[in-house]
Symmetry: C2
Subunit: 151 residues, 2 copies
């Protein structure tokens, strides 16, 4: 009888993502980071300990100009600092400020909290199966940031 049709998959993926991200942003706003959008979080995650605009663009899968623009707004939000690199005067390293690192920590714990809620709702087996499945079908995508170093 196929209780959930395959055709619903794109909608479900989008909707789940949206709910997850909305929940995290609501929590972040409560914690004193009201203006954070999905792009900002992804970019900060992608930056990690620090990288250049070009690298950020590659990790996010966007042009270096788009990455630089995002970095500028993150800088204005005080989450990021551009600092010169001594061995190459062209480069500017994007490094998270203490506020940026705090935001990252809060965001990580908000994601974990929301996932814990999912686990309560559907059980560990379902969530684990979903993670396993998605990590197969998401592989190969040159999508935004490989997140291998999410802390």
């Amino acid at each position: 009888m196929d209780p959930v049709d395959d055709l619903a998959m794109p909608f479900l993926l989008m909707s789940a993502f949206r709910n997850l991200v909305d929940a995290v942003h609501a929590q972040l706003a409560d914690d004193g980071f009201p203006g954070v959008r999905a792009t900002h979080g992804f970019a900060m995650q992608a930056i990690g300990a620090g990288c250049t605009s070009v690298e950020l663009g590659e990790r996010l899968g966007v042009s270096k100009q788009a990455a630089a623009k995002t970095a500028s707004t993150l800088e204005e939000m005080g989450l990021l600092r551009r600092e010169p690199v001594e061995r190459d005067a062209r480069q500017k390293l994007l490094v998270p400020t203490p506020a940026g690192r705090r935001m990252l920590r809060l965001s990580a714990s908000a994601f974990r909290a929301e996932l814990a809620r999912w686990r309560e709702d559907v059980g560990d087996a379902g969530v684990d199966a979903t993670l396993a499945t998605l990590s197969v079908v998401a592989a190969g995508g040159r999508g935004p940031t490989d997140l291998s170093d999410w802390t």
Copy 2:
């Protein structure tokens, strides 16, 4: 040992969605609908047999103006027709053209084909568990189109 960390969930959801949609669009482009973007597909699905701009906005979770803009581009693409409603001269019904319906059919079969590929890669159990899990956590979201009438 937690082979896939909970923190990867947002990335996996996005990446899976992106891969899925990219694959479908590549197929659509091959089938003679090169310019179709994710928004267009979602909007066409939301329109279904036909609705007004206001309804479309509600189904997509966007303002009526945004919905009308999208409808205009769909009209220019020849996927959609605006036709007057005799019982209310204010309304204009958005109805798919034959090309629009063809695109919907092709898009549906492309989605099913891609899902079939997923099923080959990870097995039916994983995909079914994912569908079941996501339909729980996606619920309640006022996300785009309830897709209850995807054909």
